[in-house]
């Protein structure tokens, strides 16, 4: 069993502080969901855990099985078992998906060890079938010309193959139609084990029809303001977030939407998918 701890985390982007003391603890075998209104720092949290260059951790700490994650480079975090399924995965011209994924698998092996080509092809084939992806996937350039839904499925495909301890799924539901949502949801669910846990960031409850969380957290104004079980989801679904503000006496302090996590782009992606 592994543990990911986020302790009193303060994070800024472009000089503005977005996270103001986040505390969260995840164990493998658990699915946690973070919900919250737009611009409250959900994507900031996921980017900070992975070490995105635009995000500065002002104070606090992140520990993976007691090891200081903030001291690790991005690639080290990945090799130690963290995975971020991104909201807007990069496109890389000229690099095939197969080459990319094989290199990522290879990066996890000790020096001198090599993945057998046969094993690699089998692994990739199996995963792409489970995600119902087109058979030309290995030969296409990484995310180039992929629809919004294909990009998201490609993220989940990589997660399945790289087998992290903890995956952070950042709005993995945006841009997915109903069928794709089900496929992605089922594939994430199947991974749940004593070796795998997930932090699911979403703003709709619809993904949660498929991914059953153990814990639900509401992030507002840069802090986790409420935690509970799935009943919280229903409440948010029916009543929005205003009741929480009232209950906790929070100020209405909308945070400027940053480049990661805008709703405008997301809805246009959803249109593309349709």
């Amino acid at each position: 069993m592994s543990k990911l701890q986020i302790i009193d985390l303060y994070v800024s982007v472009e000089g503005k502080q977005i996270l103001k003391g986040v505390n969260l603890e995840l164990s493998t075998g658990e699915f946690h969901v973070i919900m919250g209104p737009n611009g409250t720092g959900k994507s900031t949290l996921s980017a900070a855990i992975m070490g995105h260059y635009k995000y500065t951790v002002d104070s606090g700490s992140i520990l993976l099985d007691g090891e200081d994650v903030l001291k690790m480079s991005v690639d080290e975090r990945s090799r130690k078992g963290l995975f971020l399924a991104m909201q807007y995965p990069s496109e890389i011209e000229g690099v095939t998906n197969a080459d990319f994924i094989k290199t990522a698998m290879q990066a996890r092996l000790a020096e001198g060890e090599h993945i057998s080509l046969f094993k690699f092809i089998k692994t990739l084939d199996k995963a792409s079938q489970e995600l119902k992806m087109k058979s030309d996937l290995p030969h296409r350039y990484v995310n180039v010309g992929f629809s919004g839904g294909e990009k998201k499925r490609n993220e989940i495909l990589q997660m399945k193959i790289l087998k992290p301890k903890f995956a952070i799924l950042d709005e993995i539901d945006s841009g997915l139609d109903v069928d794709a949502l089900r496929i992605v949801g089922e594939n994430v669910n199947e991974m749940k084990s004593s070796e795998f846990g997930a932090l699911v960031i979403t703003h709709y409850e619809r993904l949660l029809d498929y991914i059953k969380p153990d814990y639900v957290h509401i992030l507002m104004n840069g802090k986790i303001v409420k935690s509970g079980d799935t009943s919280l989801i229903e409440k948010v679904d029916q009543n929005g977030y205003d009741w929480i503000k009232e209950e906790l006496g929070l100020d209405d302090d909308p945070i400027t939407v940053t480049s990661i996590g805008t709703c405008a782009v997301k809805s246009s992606l959803a249109k593309n998918e349709a």
Binding site: S73, D75, V95, T103, L162
Partner: protein, 467 residues
């Protein structure tokens, strides 16, 4: 397979082909160039009078020629410091058993013999000035294909050589074409008869071994009507402290409906000055493709050209240039459209790092008869650090009002979001950068024969890790 594997595994930390072989030179003209040296070269080769006269005319022309007015400063070149002709084995051999052991060792280190068997129909390797080994598989001979070194061609096929030699690139063309015509030695000669289509690529490997040695090979390819050929030229040279000069000329003549592809990955060590004139004359409906990689050399000036002379002729150049520290790559392409409905495409990918300088210098000209001509030029540059520089210098001219030229150019740095994405999957920064770079040059790499693509991959890796 084991040789090959070892060869790949031995791709070292430094310039991997920088090994030197001790070879006893049979003939050596000594340093410097004058009329006597030119005559001596011709006499050694027992050339016909017309070739000797052409050499001398070219030599006198060379004396009058001035340095190019563009590109890198070449005035550091002292022509008296070079040796213009060295012969290191008595005659061209057609079996490996007869090639001197030291020379064989060198080619073994380069992995030539195995690649010959696996991918290539014929190999012509040039060690110093004379081609020491040459073989063409039987079927080609039966088809009437002529493939030999150019010296042999002068002896065996004087009529063909005389008809085409120095016609596409005249001896007066430029300073280095004059120099080459005066002092040329070796190079490949290919004649593909009418309607003969050669499926497998033909290959030649050039190598400079002696210090301060000029290498002036001369390649002549004639593709007859409806015929096709893919020729692959590889270049590696050992590393020395003094500068060496390489000034080759490649002339290609493609007749009606013919096709020729000429692929090179130039990987001279970083003390070579590489000044090469490559030009193809393309008749009606014929197609010329230059696949031109420039990784090595200290100073490199190379602009493969197509003269699209017949209606519907087509020219393509896909090239990369990679300049690392102490390198200046001034490369590009030229497309000269002289007939209606001619089309051309240039795809150029330039990279620089470690303070290197890489320029794209291109020319597209649609003459007044080139009605409805079309050209597409795409130049992309990737600058890998803050100390390296690049210029894009395109010249586009149209002299009629029905043709059009499209030109696109981009200059970029390695994208931080792409780096983050790849690193978030466990790739180190170096691996991620390399992957982005390999993706950038993919349009070039995918055109290469498989073995060359593997070698290119290794070379890029070495370049990226060089200090």
């Amino acid at each position: 397979m084991s040789d090959k594997k070892e060869f790949l595994e031995n791709l070292g930390n430094d310039y991997q082909y920088g090994f030197k072989t001790d070879v006893k030179n049979v003939i050596d003209t000594g340093k410097g160039l004058n009329k006597d040296v030119v005559e001596q070269i011709s006499n050694i080769k027992k050339e016909p009078l017309w070739m000797k006269e052409l050499r001398l005319k070219a030599y006198h022309e060379f004396e009058k020629k001035k340095w190019p007015t563009y590109g890198p400063d070449l005035s550091f070149i002292d022509f008296d410091e070079y040796t213009y002709y060295i012969k290191s084995s008595e005659k061209a051999e057609s079996s490996w058993d007869n090639v001197p052991t030291e020379i064989k060792d060198t080619f073994d280190k380069l992995g030539i013999r195995e690649s010959e068997q696996k991918y290539l129909a014929g190999v012509s390797t040039q060690f110093e000035s004379e081609v020491v080994y040459h073989s063409t598989i039987k079927e080609l001979e039966e088809l009437g294909v002529l493939f030999c070194d150019t010296d042999t061609a002068v002896r065996l096929y004087p009529e063909i050589v005389k008809e085409y030699f120095a016609k596409v690139v005249p001896y007066q063309d430029n300073m280095f074409a004059s120099l080459n015509t005066a002092t040329w030695s070796g190079g490949s000669f290919i004649y593909v008869p009418k309607n003969v289509k050669i499926e497998k690529p033909l290959q030649s490997y050039f190598r400079i071994n002696s210090e301060q040695m000029g290498q002036f090979e001369r390649t002549l390819i004639i593709v007859d009507e409806g015929a096709s050929v893919h020729y692959v030229e590889g270049c590696t040279a050992p590393k020395y402290s003094k500068d060496s000069l390489h000034a080759a000329v490649v002339e290609i003549y493609i007749k009606k409906g013919g096709y020729c592809r000429y692929s090179t990955v130039q990987n001279w060590s970083n003390n070579i000055v590489n000044l090469v004139t490559k030009r193809a004359y393309v008749e009606a409906g014929a197609h010329m493709e230059w696949i031109d990689g420039n990784i090595g050399s200290m100073v490199n000036m190379k602009y493969p050209a197509c003269v699209l002379a017949g209606e519907g002729a087509k020219g393509t150049t896909i090239s990369i240039a990679f300049a690392s520290s102490n390198q200046f790559q001034d490369t590009g392409a030229k497309m000269i459209h002289l007939a209606p409905n001619t089309t051309s495409q240039i795809i150029s990918k330039s990279l620089c790092r470690g303070g290197g300088k890489v320029n794209y210098r291109g020319l597209v000209r649609h003459g007044k008869n080139a009605t409805n001509a079309k050209s597409h030029v795409e130049c992309d540059t990737l600058i890998l650090d803050d100390i390296s520089t690049s210029d894009t210098i395109p010249t586009n001219i149209t002299q009629n009002d029905s043709s059009y030229i499209e030109h696109e150019a981009t200059v970029s740095k390695v994208n931080e979001d792409q780096l983050f994405y790849l690193m978030s999957r466990g790739l180190t920064e170096a691996q991620a950068t390399q992957m982005i770079v390999m993706g950038f040059i993919e349009p070039f790499a995918k055109e290469l024969p498989m073995e060359y693509a593997v070698e290119l991959n290794q070379l890029i890796k070495l370049e990226m890790n060089k200090n």
